[in-house]
């Protein structure tokens, strides 16, 4: 298998060539005359803002979509890829953002399912042997007999990669693989990619994080609004250059003012004392949570997702009941108060998943914007709504944040990033006293990320307290005044960003003693 891969490398001919790929969706041109050369033995990074067309392009190559026009060439011959099945036939494999493993199966079964031409009575031992062989070779250690439901996200990703390797792929497409990983897991992933590259595999990595690009790429292609803004080898690339290619205009930089000295003599906005919850089903139970948020403070919550972040947000909001402990907000006992009371006292909530947790999809953007503060816009005791006031308020906030949204289209027609913008605008309007922000910048491009973070900093300066739940450690380090780390529903660390480093936090997050794997 690896032999044929190496041949492609020595020839120094591109393995796959994309020429003039154009794809449009109703109202949007996702790709416009995109050319791309993919070489064996290279990590090729596709960089671009959200909605730049990276994922679409790769889904065309993987046969998920069909291009309106353009060609895909394999060794100079045009080929047609009409389905993922065709793509696998020419040895292309893709790891999606949301993994496709079956949780109730073990690792070997999941991988065996994916092997082309699997026998009616599969030789599972042989599969085990090959998994062990490949995982040793590429540092992808997983136990073939482990149930997928028991694996961490990082391990599941390893299984996805192993799956592609065992099914003979020679081009691996990874769609934002680092989005869900802790820092040391990212380093480990990059070292895996490094050894795959040395064996002649072609790798395409989709990302919008410039830092990662510089760490692992051999070749970088920047997409902007569906077109190739430039393609260059690693040694020619620099952060400034890439940013300039991604955006036409200069980016405004994040202004982080010096963090004000915290005045702990004032009463905290939020005080959780020994709060516990009982998680049902797949939910995590919180155990013995103590947390204070003072005015003018951003408290970061680090943790791998599913370790109680969602429950922590919900407990503060009042959606989750405390089975023991107390919750004081603004100096009053809120332990058993309803969400309505919490909301009305000035709590903004930006949930991890804006579509299912904060949007009514069939209602317009403007109507959605009124939802968290209907009492504020009700006139004549509720007989009428003052839509003009909603519009004015939201347009002010939009302007302040530098976002733009059409207000009269249904929320379901917004892209993921715009939906997030809508929720941020709604929750930031009217200067909330306490903001709970989960994955604030998920789905946002670099420009909007800066704007959203700026909004949090502004809120802090005006005396609000912020609970920032994130998996982006850098974000937590830049913004937080204090950090807590959640693992299995418990606070496993309370740290000051300036007194710790991302690896320490990373280890606490994963609750493991894993040694740090050096970067590639």
């Amino acid at each position: 298998m690896t032999d044929s891969v190496s041949q492609a490398t020595t020839a120094k001919e591109p393995l796959f060539v994309l020429r003039g790929i154009t794809k449009s969706f109703p109202g949007v041109i996702a790709n416009e005359h995109v050319d791309l050369d993919i070489y064996g033995g290279e990590v090729h990074v596709l960089l671009g803002e959200n909605g730049a067309g990276k994922s679409t392009l790769m889904k065309i190559l993987y046969g998920f979509y069909r291009a309106d026009s353009g060609q895909i060439l394999l060794n100079g011959e045009p080929i047609s890829i009409r389905s993922p099945h065709d793509a696998r036939g020419v040895r292309i494999g893709m790891v999606f953002q949301d993994f496709t493993l079956i949780p109730a199966f073990n690792v070997a079964e999941n991988i065996a399912l994916f092997i082309p031409g699997l026998k009616a009575v599969p030789n599972i031992k042989e599969v085990h042997r090959r998994i062990n062989e490949l995982s040793e070779r590429y540092n992808l250690q997983v136990n073939p007999q482990a149930m997928v439901s028991q694996l961490s996200i990082g391990e599941q990703q390893k299984v996805e990669i192993l799956k592609l390797l065992l099914s003979d792929a020679r081009l691996l497409i990874l769609d934002e693989p680092t989005r869900v990983l802790a820092p040391h897991e990212v380093s480990a992933l990059f070292s895996v990619l490094d050894s795959l590259r040395k064996d002649g595999y072609a790798i395409i990595l989709i990302t919008h994080k410039i830092k990662e690009v510089l760490e692992c790429a051999d070749r970088i292609t920047v997409l902007r609004r569906g077109r190739v803004a430039g393609s260059l080898p690693r040694f020619e690339a620099s952060e400034d250059k890439l940013v300039a290619m991604m955006f036409e205009k200069e980016l405004s930089r994040l202004q982080v003012s010096p963090k004000p000295a915290l005045d702990e003599s004032v009463p905290p906005l939020l005080e959780l004392r020994g709060v516990e919850t009982r998680g049902e089903g797949a939910a995590t139970s919180l155990k013995e949570i103590d947390l204070n948020i003072y005015p003018g403070e951003i408290v970061g919550v680090a943790g791998v997702s599913g370790n109680g972040q969602k429950e922590l947000g919900d407990v503060i909001l009042g959606l989750e009941k405390c089975i023991s402990g107390t919750k004081f907000m603004f100096g009053e006992d809120y332990t058993n108060r309803s969400i309505q009371k919490v909301r009305r006292s000035g709590v903004g909530f930006i949930p991890e998943d804006p579509l299912t947790m904060a949007t009514a999809p069939f209602m317009t953007v403007l109507e959605n914007m009124a939802l968290s503060k209907t009492w504020r816009y009700a006139r004549l005791g509720g007989l009428a709504m003052d839509w003009q006031a909603v519009k004015t308020d939201m347009e002010d906030t939009l302007k302040k944040l530098g976002f733009s949204l059409s207000l009269h289209i249904p929320a379901k027609s917004l892209s993921g990033g715009n939906r997030q913008r809508m929720v941020i605008v709604r929750e930031m309007a009217h200067n909330p006293h306490l903001i709970i922000a989960s994955y604030l910048t998920r789905g946002l491009d670099v420009q909007s990320t800066i704007a959203a973070r700026q909004a949090l900093i502004q809120a802090r300066e005006s005396g609000a307290g912020v609970l920032l739940i994130s998996e982006d450690i850098e974000e937590l380090f830049t913004l937080s005044d204090r950090l807590i780390v959640l693992h299995s529903g418990k606070t496993v660390g309370t740290l000051k960003p300036e007194e710790t480093n991302i690896y320490e936090v990373g280890y606490l997050m994963t609750g493991s003693e894993v040694r740090h794997v050096p970067n590639c």
Partner: protein
């Protein structure tokens, strides 16, 4: 990206939507009538004649037309009783039972306060009718809000209980002594009867029903509560996190739905029958469910569809006499219409009910 998907001009989209709706309804009825004709053919009758009879007997005379309007009154009530809860994602199959309980409590008022003047007794009966239906709906609403039982099942099952409660009272404490053959209550005093218009059987219930329909439209369209209800129907999880009291809404809205169905019962016994009889509803509750689905919950749609269903239902009475067809064919026609609606191709899809 946000600029691209802007709305086209509003008037042109409005015309398009209206046209689409027209095509949709025409198609539904065409399909239903084709299937209906097939069934009549199988029964050995002439479908063209049947349809002609239906129309000439209902729309052909002032009396026929007034009878259609009479049938329409309870249908508007029960359709709202289904449509309103559907806005918050509740499926109320129980309008039939709520209608009976409304009639039951209103009858109690009519019998107990028989000596009171009209201005007191009628409003009292209206309130009692609403309370009866509303309380009957409170049971499934409470069970649903506590997460115990799905309201679809409880409302449906309680439909079999309510007529039995009514029957018990008619055969028992309220039985009219004079009539041994047909058990029923004694006649209401004239003060307890809803006034009728122009010498027909069309009664004041029509005005109340239309007011309810306008209220329903106004609340959904303009008020804070309508907005919050649409938010709950659109995504309950998001509504809850936005601080909308979802549980309270679920309970209140299902009870209000029940109360409106109760009004249907009250207006039937007070406007038409003048006494409580067992089985006085030929399935108004179920027809209301059908209408609400056909109309996609829209107030205008409810008005149009209740007229159509009332027409079909009155036509059924005529067909029994003129063609010797059993009344069950009307139920078949209504069922076919529902099937066509549920199976309609995507292009004809309107809003969900």
């Amino acid at each position: 990206m946000s600029q691209i998907a802007d709305t086209p001009s509003r008037t042109s989209s409005f015309i398009l939507i209206t046209l689409l709706a027209l095509v949709r309804y025409l198609f539904i009825f065409l399909m239903a009538f084709v299937l209906f004709s097939l069934i009549i053919l199988i029964a050995g009758k002439d479908p063209i004649l049947a349809v002609k009879d239906t129309f000439s007997s209902t729309l052909g005379s002032a009396y026929g037309f007034s009878e259609v309007i009479v049938k329409m009154i309870p249908l508007i009530f029960t359709a709202i009783a289904v449509a309103l809860p559907s806005r918050v994602g509740l499926i109320n199959v129980g309008a039939e039972g709520q209608l009976y309980m409304g009639a039951w409590l209103a009858t109690w008022g009519a019998l107990t306060f028989a000596a009171s003047p009209t201005w007191l007794i009628l409003p009292l009966m209206i309130v009692l009718g609403m309370i009866g239906g509303g309380l009957w709906a409170f049971i499934p609403a409470f069970l649903r809000a506590r997460g115990l039982v799905n309201e679809t099942i409880t409302t449906l099952l309680m439909n079999y209980v309510a007529p039995s409660v009514v029957t018990f009272f008619i055969y028992g404490p309220w039985r009219s002594p004079g009539n041994a053959l047909y058990p029923q209550t004694i006649d209401f005093v004239p003060a307890a009867r809803l006034p009728t218009f122009f010498g027909t059987r069309v009664h004041l219930g029509l005005v109340i029903a239309l007011v309810m329909l306008v209220l329903y439209w106004f609340v959904m369209k303009n008020t804070r509560w309508g907005l919050e209800m649409r938010a709950i129907g659109g995504n309950p999880q998001s509504a809850r996190r936005n601080g909308i009291p979802v549980t309270i809404y679920l309970i209140v809205i299902l009870c209000v739905g029940g109360a409106i169905a109760g009004l249907a019962g009250m207006s039937e016994i007070s406007g038409i029958h003048g006494r409580l009889r067992p089985g006085f509803s030929p399935g108004f509750g179920y027809m209301g469910f059908l209408i609400s689905w056909l109309a996609g919950g829209s107030p205008m749609g409810i008005l149009v569809m209740s007229f159509v269903v009332a027409l079909i239902s009155s036509g059924g009475d005529i067909l029994q006499i003129s063609q010797g067809l059993p009344y069950a064919v009307v139920n078949i026609l209504l069922a076919i219409t529902l099937c066509v609606v549920l199976a309609r191709p995507a292009i004809l899809k309107g809003k969900k009910a």
